[in-house]
């Protein structure tokens, strides 16, 4: 029973464990957007976007509303935004490490060019 609850939580985290999916949720912070608008803003493949949206839907992080031709997505529960806000504080608190990571990536990119 406890196990199933943890699995449920793990699934939630899993849903957010991808940069594109985080970007999607961040875009929806201030309200709904159509799938097309998300694709345009994120500059990703249509199929890929649809797959990630499917993941977020399956884990009940997003809800969608059909309007004629298009589908509008929004974050289901404001608590999710709250989680991301806390994360923001978390990253702020550990900014030095984030910067170290960024510098390492930057360095690696320079080498590979």
């Amino acid at each position: 029973m406890q196990d199933a609850l943890r699995q449920f939580k793990a699934d939630f985290f899993q849903a957010l464990a991808h940069p594109t999916r985080i970007a999607i949720v961040e875009q929806l912070r201030n309200g709904e957007l159509s799938a097309g608008a998300l694709i345009e803003r994120l500059g990703i493949e249509q199929a890929n976007a649809s797959q990630h949206l499917a993941v977020l839907r399956a884990k009940n992080i997003l809800i969608n509303r059909k309007a004629g031709n298009q589908v509008f997505y929004s974050v289901r529960d404001p608590l999710i935004i709250e989680v991301l806000d806390i994360m923001r504080r978390y990253f702020h608190a550990h900014m030095s490490e984030v910067l170290a990571t960024l510098k390492a990536i930057d360095k690696a990119e320079k080498i590979h060019r």
Copy 2:
């Protein structure tokens, strides 16, 4: 640059995207525990525990302290506990769905026996 930051966030969620790792962090809610104590409480393989601890260490979610023979783990930043608390509220808010999931699992288990 924004991408790298999102990757960083995604890594954090990825680190928590496993029931065993959530269980580990929950066990450490009230302070440090040795690896052995964690293994005993969670009833998992030693190697497996060590692998999960390595993941949590790599993502800077846990810190460890060596004391003679053993290694004590603790949650690095209380903000992480705060995130889990918010999650608790989140799951409480959506308890009906959690229960539906649990029932479905229970049903599946009955069929498979």
